[in-house]
Amino acid sequence: MSHKIIEVNNLSYKYQSESEVQALNDVSFSIEKGEWIAIIGHNGSGKSTLAKVLNGLIMPNAGTVKVDGALLTEENIWDVRQSIGMVFQNPDNQFVGSTVEEDVAFGLENAGVPREEMLVRVTESIKKVNMADFMTKEPARLSGGQKQRVAIAGVVALQPDVMILDEATSMLDPNGRKEVMNTVKEIKDAANLTVISITHDIDEAANANRIFVMKGGKLVKVGTPEEIFAYGPELIEMGLDVPFAEKLKYALKEKGIAVPASYLTEEGMVDWLWTSLLKK
């Protein structure tokens, strides 16, 4: 697990060179292979810009990105994109193919994979996201969650090392969201994939190994979900949310009940509640 898949040093980026706003400001971090990272932050905090820089879709003004030890440059962008798959926010606007199987094959076609291998890989990755019954369906006949699962299959077919989810569930209903996240989790566990999930969904972030908090183009906090959510009120001031268990904790605190200072998961909260009731 000590294999650094992504290393970022002093990354800075401005959308317009004369603009005052730094979309990314001196961002540095590294991610280990197999980690699940959640990046949270306000709208306009630079999360999506960061994702695009990692994939070479935009080139940073300053700083370096290393993917699997190799420095990202103009020359090797295309190789890097083979190892980083990306799923975007809008399920409609990233569906290139006219049917499910063709969309999944699109990335493979670009990579010049021979057709026989393509057929196998397309079928397999569609099976992995449980869309086997929809192979020949068009996007107009699929739900948002199903389209996102197809987008994930497209990434899986390329067998990348890293999967970036750029708010991939933000346009889905709670069911679709759960479906998509479960699919990602299964695939991640099966292939020891590194997942970088940019999200507004705090429950999704709570399942990550580490959370990066971004604000104004800067990486302001890095830590495990326990560590991050322990900041509680500070996060809310930054316009972020906290998990339900934490909210309950604050509500109880305001009523004058002594609550533990550390972060509690929902199960932890339940445990603490019933044990403290018994103690009385």
Binding site: L57, Q82, V96, G97, E109, G112, P139
Partner: protein, 264 residues
């Protein structure tokens, strides 16, 4: 917005569905040529039988084809009535000033009506039974000789395929924007011409803007998935020439012979 049948695809597994798209595309174009070549009611009847058999083979109900006529109904009526009312020749049944219903006018009107209907039926049959991307493949194949005169064939094919893929999506969006604007008090299709045109603006501008955004996002997604132009790409879909395709070509040859024999 469901009125527009042209450009939709209905999945199926009929013989027509399984035909090679190149045969279908070239066949449809060829059929239109034949249609202009035919010049009497016998040859038209012959072509009508051919197209009805083709529709029957596609296992798609005739209703779809009739609905495909709807958007063009006014154009058909307009052209047919022009022919009907303003051409003279043969026996004249009725005349009033420049308007005359004559024997030739009646025949011409009937032929033009048939032409319209057959062309629409044929093109609807083509799009209903062919996956848009297959159609693109066919276009790419047909255009491929033009590569040597530096025509960007792959790019053209890609643009067509994306355009086709986004037709239903944009249709849905148009309906959505229309309803949203209606909810805010915009009346579509009411008032005089000027007012009607003005009411299109709150529909057109958002649609344009969102198309730009869509294009931007799609381009990003394509690039992120390693798309960098036509070179070095392999293809998932391949066109296979099969026995039925050869048979279709033979059928077309027979139809040609039939039309030549029947035309006066």
């Amino acid at each position: 917005m469901d009125k527009l049948i042209l450009g939709r695809y209905i999945p199926g597994d009929s013989i027509v569905h399984q035909l090679d798209p190149r045969v279908k595309l070239l066949g449809s174009i060829y059929f239109i040529f034949l249609l202009f070549f035919a010049n009497n009611w016998q040859s038209y009847l012959f072509l009508a039988v051919f197209i009805l058999v083709a529709i029957k083979l596609s296992k798609i109900s005739l209703g779809f084809f009739l609905r495909g006529l709807k958007p063009l109904l006014w154009l058909i009526i307009f052209t047919v009535s022009l022919q009907l009312l303003f051409s003279r020749g043969g026996e004249i049944y009725f005349s009033f000033g420049p308007i005359a219903i004559s024997q030739f006018g009646l025949i011409n009107a009937a032929l033009i009506f048939c032409r319209f209907v057959f062309i629409i039926f044929m093109s609807t049959l083509l799009t209903l039974t062919t996956i848009p991307l297959e159609l693109t493949d066919a276009i790419e194949f047909i255009l491929s000789p033009f590569k040597y005169v530096k025509l960007p064939v792959h790019e053209i094919a890609l643009m067509i395929s994306i355009a086709l893929r986004f037709v239903p999506t944009l249709m849905d969006e148009t309906t959505k924007i229309m309803n949203a604007q209606r909810a805010r008090g915009v009346e579509f299709g009411e008032g005089n011409l000027f007012q009607q045109m003005k009411s299109i603006i709150p529909l057109l501008i958002p649609l344009f803007v969102s198309s730009f955004n869509r294009a931007e996002e799609l381009a990003t997604a394509m690039e992120a998935r390693g798309y960098r132009g036509g070179e070095g790409r392999t293809k998932y879909r391949v066109l296979n020439w099969e026995v039925t395709d050869t048979m279709a070509v033979i059928v077309f040859a027979f139809v040609t012979v039939g039309v030549i024999l029947l035309r006066g």
